[in-house]
């Protein structure tokens, strides 16, 4: 190991700060056929729920200017099938694995986290962007009270490091981040997709059966970077930056803004080997700028 890129995040060793984002990398199997994914710092699993979900009907993807909207609707095999069929593969990989957990009510969140927390997993990422079916379908992570509730209850059952993933649609993202910290989150990742809308003007109909869908990609980067920068200044726990990263320059921006590591989502769809490329480019950047470890630039911009 060159030592140039390796980082320590919550006492977990990452070969580098490049982690593949939930929902964009499956459980790693598909990209493992395309390149050596063990070069990556880590991967986050597809979002898992207590019970299996078939996902949303209708169109699930729509292209936008420098981005895309998705309405996958958390299609996943459920936590039990995941533990049986996918977790062993993820654990067998020589990289950090993070398990992304979602839910539509408090009980499901807690049960799913409880189940996975008893397995040897490196970290849990709690996705609080899912609509809370018990409270007007407003996602947990939008309001302070529901955020506090879900983080508090989940924390009680999670023994492994717990990272909470914030929604950019949150009322006040700094307040929400502070609440997560108060309730015992070990780290914060941000941001998830933006709630967005699109219309098929020919049919005079909405594109998505579910009405709204999540916007991701380079289009959201300037806002994601702002949120990471703001939150990094306001909490003491470490941060993973997410949103629109497509190249090593973007990664540097997020790290300089205060993120300890980053996640890459949509960029995988544009170039399946983007992870490999970014890691190589980061290495070259550090060498040619005489930086002995990437952590030296974290939070360097005020």
């Amino acid at each position: 190991m060159s030592g140039l890129l390796d980082i320590n995040f919550l006492e977990i060793n990452f070969k580098n700060p490049i982690i593949m984002a939930s929902g964009t990398f499956g459980f790693g199997r598909e990209y493992a056929e395309i390149y050596d994914i063990e070069k990556l710092g880590g991967i986050v699993s597809k979002g898992l729920t207590l019970n299996p979900r078939r996902g949303n009907q209708g169109i699930r993807v729509w292209e936008t200017s420098s981005g895309m909207m998705n309405s996958v609707g958390l299609e996943n095999p459920g936590i039990q099938a995941f533990i049986e069929n996918e977790l062993p593969f993820m654990q067998s990989l020589n990289l950090a694995h993070i398990i992304n957990i979602s839910g539509t009510n408090l009980e499901d969140y807690v049960k799913a986290c409880h189940k996975i927390s008893r397995k040897k997993v490196d970290m849990i990422e709690l996705n609080i962007s899912c609509p809370n079916v018990q409270e007007n379908n407003i996602p947990f992570g939008i309001k302070e009270t529901t955020t506090r509730e879900v983080v508090k209850e989940v924390r009680k059952v999670v023994k492994v490091p717990l990272m909470v993933k914030l929604s950019p649609d949150a009322d006040d993202i700094i307040r929400i981040a502070r609440i997560c910290e108060e309730e015992g989150a070990d780290a914060i990742s941000l941001i998830n997709t933006f709630k967005a809308f699109a219309i098929n003007i020919n049919e005079k109909k909405k594109i998505f059966e579910n009405t709204f869908a999540g916007l991701s990609g380079p289009c959201i980067k300037p806002i994601a970077l702002r949120m990471v920068h703001e939150v990094a200044k306001q909490v003491k726990i470490p941060i993973m930056g997410i949103g629109g990263i497509v190249n090593y320059q973007d990664v540097l921006e997020f790290l300089m803004a205060g993120a300890q590591a980053v996640q890459i989502g949509t960029a995988n769809f544009i170039n399946p080997k983007v992870g490999e490329i970014i890691i190589k480019d980061l290495e070259n950047y550090l060498i040619s700028n005489d930086i002995s470890n990437i952590s030296e630039i974290i939070g360097i911009v005020d």
């Binding site: 499956g26 199997r29 996902g55 699930r60 993807v61 292209e63 200017s65 420098s66 998705n70 996958v72």
Partner: protein, 233 residues
């Protein structure tokens, strides 16, 4: 990144696009292609129309933003291409074949007929195409097909002597494939359909291309694009 060798406009907004390079792929697989443009963020899935020693050929139709960007490409332009992806048509097939294509669904059938001719020498290959009007590329199917029947404007499914075939590959409008499946089921023919769904990753990781099958949700890009007709309809 690869270079465009040619990009010929044909009739009915069809184009033949050749991209230079060495490629290997099975019939029925597809590639993801994209040109740098503000109007094309995601890659576009395109079936293999033909493979030559020095390049790959796509047959596509200009229908929207991305294919308009492609249509404007010229020889020497750079284009990004990833693949091959998907399962492709089965190679371990037997008996006599009908290949049925409608509209852009015709694209994968040319390479399929070429491959079948090569590997299933003893079987007949009949090709049925449905188009809006006569087009320049049709004739080339005669190189590999033992019979070529093209229908303009109507339903190509009305012209197929189903009972003659052991296996059918079909690609085109859902209605077309559904009609064929009905006949195939009646006559116990192995029917394989190639599906189209909007895609993002193309490799099976993002689940935006899911389709419902008799065996649960499947990813068109990874578990397909080729499925057994009976599992879909």
């Amino acid at each position: 990144m690869a270079l465009i060798e040619y990009n010929k406009p044909l009739k009915s907004k069809f184009y033949l696009l050749k991209i230079s390079g060495k490629y290997e792929a099975k019939m029925g697989q597809f590639f993801m292609i994209k040109k740098d443009s503000q109007f094309m963020f995601l890659n576009r899935p395109m079936s293999i129309y033909d493979l030559e020693n020095d390049g790959i050929i796509f047959l596509y139709k200009k229908i929207g933003k991305g294919t308009t960007v492609l249509a404007d490409c010229k020889k020497g332009d750079e284009i990004s291409i990833h693949g091959p992806y998907g399962n492709g048509f089965p190679m371990e097939v037997k008996g006599d074949f009908a290949l049925v294509g409608g509209g852009t669904g015709i694209a994968p059938l040319f390479y399929a007929s070429k491959q079948l001719k090569k590997y299933c020498k003893n079987n007949t290959i009949h090709v049925f195409l449905g188009l809006q009007e006569k087009n320049e590329f049709e004739a080339s199917f005669n190189n590999y097909a033992d019979l070529l029947q093209v229908n303009y404007g109507g339903f190509i499914t009305d012209y197929i002597p189903y009972e003659k075939y052991n296996t059918i590959f079909s690609c085109g409008p859902e209605l077309m494939m559904k009609k064929i499946e009905k006949q195939a089921r009646k006559l116990n023919i192995d029917h394989y359909v190639s599906l189209e769904k909007r895609m993002a990753c193309g490799v099976g990781a993002c689940l935006v291309c899911t389709c419902q099958t008799k065996n649960g949700n499947k990813r068109v890009c990874k578990d397909g694009p080729v499925f057994r007709g009976k599992d879909i309809f």
